[in-house]
């Protein structure tokens, strides 16, 4: 009879795993089998040798090393997790069903968690930079709110927050953004928004997120908002314009807004056109939208503040006065009546003159060569090439005085 079954029992006995009911038979066999007794003795010695062979200790900084490597690799794991979540429909919503580009496509925008986080960081960077630098014009605050809506930043934040297993740095970042967004939407004063934006310490938080996840800020692609009625070309263009504006494609955004000449989005498009131009430093074009093209409902104190800010930066003369010498209420008073904007282009630079009603100067030169006029109701936008216009000497003198007032302003 083979000794193997008994030796397995001996092995069990060495480990304290021998069943009680097997003990009598084992002991009887061992008492009669010298080979098994010898085997057990050798096994005891070899086991002891194995246990005495020495143990390694964990190297110093082992835990820190684990955390470091984990942080470096965490994002790929998140990518997989996000992808799985999408497959499961957990994240169905803006990412899965609303990310439609103007181009015909067969499915949702392919995306990854890293991409989504990158887009979120890009969006919040633009948003908070703008919020932190609000010049005091409530119109800018509306722009901030508009961008929050246009980019679905609240929804994006909530959905990213809901994804389990986020690194603490990502959760901290999302939590801070979420709180600030809620506060901005709640409608605090401009000063409070500036404080909020600064308090978020976004750059530091984003840097930590980047360090941990490797995700890089990346522009949000052109998207059509879910509420946009598809099939309405004007609406689609308007939505594309907002998306481009947020993505930083200001020129493209301005072109899109300008192209919307009719339909329910016209009023909004005028305002956003101005915002897009203001963003790329084109004060003249921004003011054209705000002063001449902007619909009645935008002519409020917020817009007046934006006009004042843009005009001050561009050295624009508002009703014969420097913008910084005007209160927002004064600017609003100008906006609430028809205005004439004269843009004088000369070798020494560009001067804009904004006058309530139809200024005598404008009337005098409106028919001359070298003057381009765009009218919107009773308001007029005049672009004047000073070199070409044969002006009345009195008008020219007045214009030159105005120009010299702002000769150091080049825009």
């Amino acid at each position: 009879m083979s000794c193997d079954p008994f030796r397995e029992l001996l092995s069990q006995r060495l480990d304290g795993e021998l069943p009680e009911d097997a003990r009598p038979a084992l002991e009887e066999h061992v008492s009669q089998c010298a080979a098994c007794r010898g085997w057990e003795g050798e096994v005891r010695r070899s086991d002891a040798a194995a246990r005495e062979a020495g143990a390694m200790a964990l190297p110093a900084g082992f835990a820190d090393g684990v955390r470091r490597v984990s942080a470096r690799r965490r994002m790929p794991a998140r990518v997989l997790r996000y992808a799985a979540a999408v497959a499961a429909g957990v994240l169905a919503g803006v990412f899965g069903t609303m990310a439609l580009t103007p181009e015909p496509r067969t499915g949702p925008d392919p995306w990854t968690a890293a991409d989504e986080l990158g887009k979120h960081m890009h969006a919040s960077k633009l948003l908070f930079r703008q919020a932190a630098n609000l010049p005091g014009a409530a119109g800018d605050l509306e722009l901030v709110r508009g961008e929050i809506r246009a980019t679905s930043l609240v929804e994006r934040t909530a959905r990213l927050r809901a994804v389990p297993g986020q690194p603490p740095e990502v959760r901290d970042y999302l939590q801070a953004v979420e709180a600030a967004l809620a506060a901005i939407e709640a409608g605090p004063a401009v000063e409070r928004v500036r404080e909020l934006a600064a308090g978020v310490q976004l750059d530091e938080r984003i840097a930590r997120v980047q360090q941990v996840t490797g995700a890089q800020p990346r522009p949000i692609p052109v998207v059509v908002e879910p509420s946009t009625p598809l099939g309405d070309p004007g609406a689609a263009i308007f939505a594309q314009g907002r998306a481009n504006l947020f993505a930083g494609n200001y020129e493209r955004a301005a072109a899109l807004f300008e192209s919307v000449k009719s339909g329910p989005y016209e009023e909004d498009a005028q305002y956003w056109y101005a915002a897009a131009q203001a963003r790329q430093g084109r004060a003249a074009d921004a003011l054209r939208g705000l002063l001449v093209g902007t619909a009645e409902r935008w002519r409020d104190l917020e817009t007046a503040g934006l006009v004042k800010e843009v005009a001050a930066r561009a050295g624009v003369v508002l009703a014969g006065r420097r913008p910084d010498s005007l209160k927002a209420e004064d600017v609003l008073a100008i906006l609430q009546q028809p205005v004439t904007v004269m843009v004088l282009n000369s070798p020494r630079g560009q001067v804009m003159i904004v006058s309530p009603g139809q200024s005598p100067e404008a009337q005098l030169i409106s028919d001359m060569p070298g003057v381009q006029i765009q009218r919107n109701g009773a308001s007029a936008w005049m672009v004047v090439d000073v070199q070409q216009v044969q002006m009345d000497p009195r008008v020219l003198d007045r214009i030159i005085r105005l120009r010299d007032q702002f000769q150091n302003v080049g825009h």
């Binding site: 092995s11 480990d15 096994v43 040798a49 964990l58 082992f62 965490r74 389990p164």
Partner: protein, 188 residues
């Protein structure tokens, strides 16, 4: 049969695992203090390479941080860790095709030079003998003999039955004894 790796279910994540998942440094340190040295020595005995053992053990904990929310029962944490460590070790051995295995290093801080030499010889002999054990016998031997794990725990870590553990361990012991015989009779 218990697989040793936690199954997905809907029970809330135990607090310690939730903290681990969230990257809590103290929780990680606690788990490493509890399991790290044993895992390191298990992996070391599996692969016979100190440097690789450290790397592989680190990988185990890195994986833990990203998969903590898959372990729904904290009692299975150790089982899960050993299971992953074993897989990592086996994969490492498979991928190491022609590289010369590093010799075992002496245990830490011997008190006298002659003791150091003796321990080094013993460590080398043990590692040579372990190298002579095929999988899954080596894992079974390391877990049950060197790590003094119960059969039940070893069965969970290896996703097999207790009966299989017993059978494998007997064969592993028998082989290890045979391989160690020259050392035991010549040196001791």
């Amino acid at each position: 049969m218990e697989t040793g790796v936690a199954q997905q279910d809907v029970t809330p994540l135990p607090e310690r695992l939730a903290r681990l998942r969230d990257g809590d440094a103290d929780s990680l340190r606690g788990v490493i203090d509890e399991f790290g040295p044993k895992l390191l020595n298990f992996v070391y005995r599996m692969v016979g390479d100190r440097s690789a053992a450290e790397d592989l053990t680190q990988e185990v904990f890195v994986k833990l941080l990203s998969h903590a929310d898959e372990i729904r029962d904290e009692r299975l944490l150790g089982t899960w860790l050993y299971s992953v460590a074993r897989n990592h070790s086996i994969n490492h051995l498979r991928s190491r095709k022609t590289a010369q295995r590093n010799r075992p290093e002496p245990p830490a801080e011997p008190s006298r030079p002659d003791e150091a030499a003796g321990r080094r010889e013993l460590a080398e002999a043990v590692q040579r003998a372990l190298d002579g054990l095929e999988e899954p016998f080596r894992t079974t031997f390391v877990l049950c003999v060197m790590q003094e794990m119960s059969y039940e725990e070893a069965a969970q870590a290896m996703s097999c039955s207790v009966k299989t553990v017993s059978s494998r361990l007997f064969r592993a012991r028998d082989k290890f004894r045979e391989l160690m015989r020259p050392y035991l009779y010549e040196v001791r």
